[in-house]
Symmetry: D2
Subunit: 135 residues, 4 copies
């Protein structure tokens, strides 16, 4: 309740940073969203200023993301938005970032085609295997 949901349509700006954690697989990347608007005075479509977000994925979504997505690819990202305001570091710099805890992610089919392959989850064997491999 009162979660702030948001859907972003944009491009992957950094490599997927994938990690095994004690809470299971986790992945993150920076995501660039550039709005397009119709400039009525010039009668043309124009790019607005790009916004950057940090997107987090967990568990199976993190595993499949790491196995499917590369820098520059176009995605639809749906999830919960939060704005983190970290305390100043030693030099007094504040760090504010807009982060998405992703609920679902998919390649944007406006920009290309995708061959999908279902991953069967039998109590997350993939994750268990990967944890074992890492451990």
């Amino acid at each position: 309740m009162y979660d702030t949901q948001v859907t972003l349509v944009g491009h992957v700006a950094t490599q997927i940073d994938y990690k095994e954690t004690v809470n299971g697989p986790s992945a993150r990347f920076r995501f660039a969203v550039t709005p397009r608007y119709f400039d009525r005075r010039k009668d043309v479509w124009t790019d607005g200023t790009t916004s950057f977000y940090t997107v987090w994925a967990r568990r199976t979504l993190a595993v499949n993301l790491a196995g499917s997505v590369s820098v520059g690819e176009p995605l639809v990202v749906h999830g919960r938005l939060r704005v983190r305001d970290d305390p100043p570091d030693g030099e007094g710099n504040r760090r504010v970032s807009a982060e998405i805890d992703a609920t679902a992610i998919g390649h944007d089919l406006n920009r290309g085609t995708a061959a999908f392959r279902r991953v069967v989850r039998t109590d997350h064997p993939l994750m268990d295997t990967q944890k074992a491999a890492v451990g």
Copy 2:
């Protein structure tokens, strides 16, 4: 302004109905969304009632959709919502339907992996070719 945007996470319930029209490629399909909620009394996750939507895609999105998506596949669908209330037919039946004019569609990476291939658009040659082929 005042568009009603919505994001659906669910499954494709019918085959993609793809057509060439005078306005370019168009595709539609029925889409099933089943909410999951945590039942605090029983302490388990439970399925809610499924909602069905008609999703429309146009132009390049329609072409790539038809080339990428099959019945039963999990998708993220983002677009504009409208509720159509068609006049009664000869037997007095009203037809109300919830429709999405899709802005972006992608396979839900919670459920599997996807191999993405970018389609380069050089003034929509694909569409021109297809129109020519149909004509």
Copy 3:
């Protein structure tokens, strides 16, 4: 998770139907949303087709809604969307409706001003009182 959230900006189309139920206060009304879009050919803003929704409010939101909102007033409605498809009635008519289970509702300040008065909730005394009065 996987709830379909939506935000509607539009006008109240029917009186608020307020009821006391065994689960507490409940209110519903029909809500009309008319998209506006810029017609590039004619160079003017135009109204699109109106969509109608049934909005449900519960508990304190239902009570305050009934005490604050009249037919024709402009609202922002945020909540969970579902599409109900009721079985055919005796004459074979199917009834499909788009419903919003409201999370938050407020008067749209684009259209006027609002004087807000906070209602203090001490274990929902207002509802208890009203139930007592009804009982």
Copy 4:
């Protein structure tokens, strides 16, 4: 197209900063959103970390906002999200902020009642008057 729309439910954290500009009335304020989630381990509802946003309103919405809303009041805010990343200032501090260009704003009727009064717009006379008064 590809605008990032978002709906926030929270509280006004600062006074409304209202200004007349050459482009018409403009108002801004800081807005605090605190998610609530159900902690299954402790079996209680808990507050998450608060996110802060800068909300901008223009034209009639700015005028009515300034005449209706005070610090601490609960609002529903719907609009376009962008993340601004300003260049470092003289001391090397980067400033990142999450901003909402509001489409609609209303008092959250979960928290109280509101008496709404429609403002008739006849070519924005209110704004013209105010501009004249300021000029």
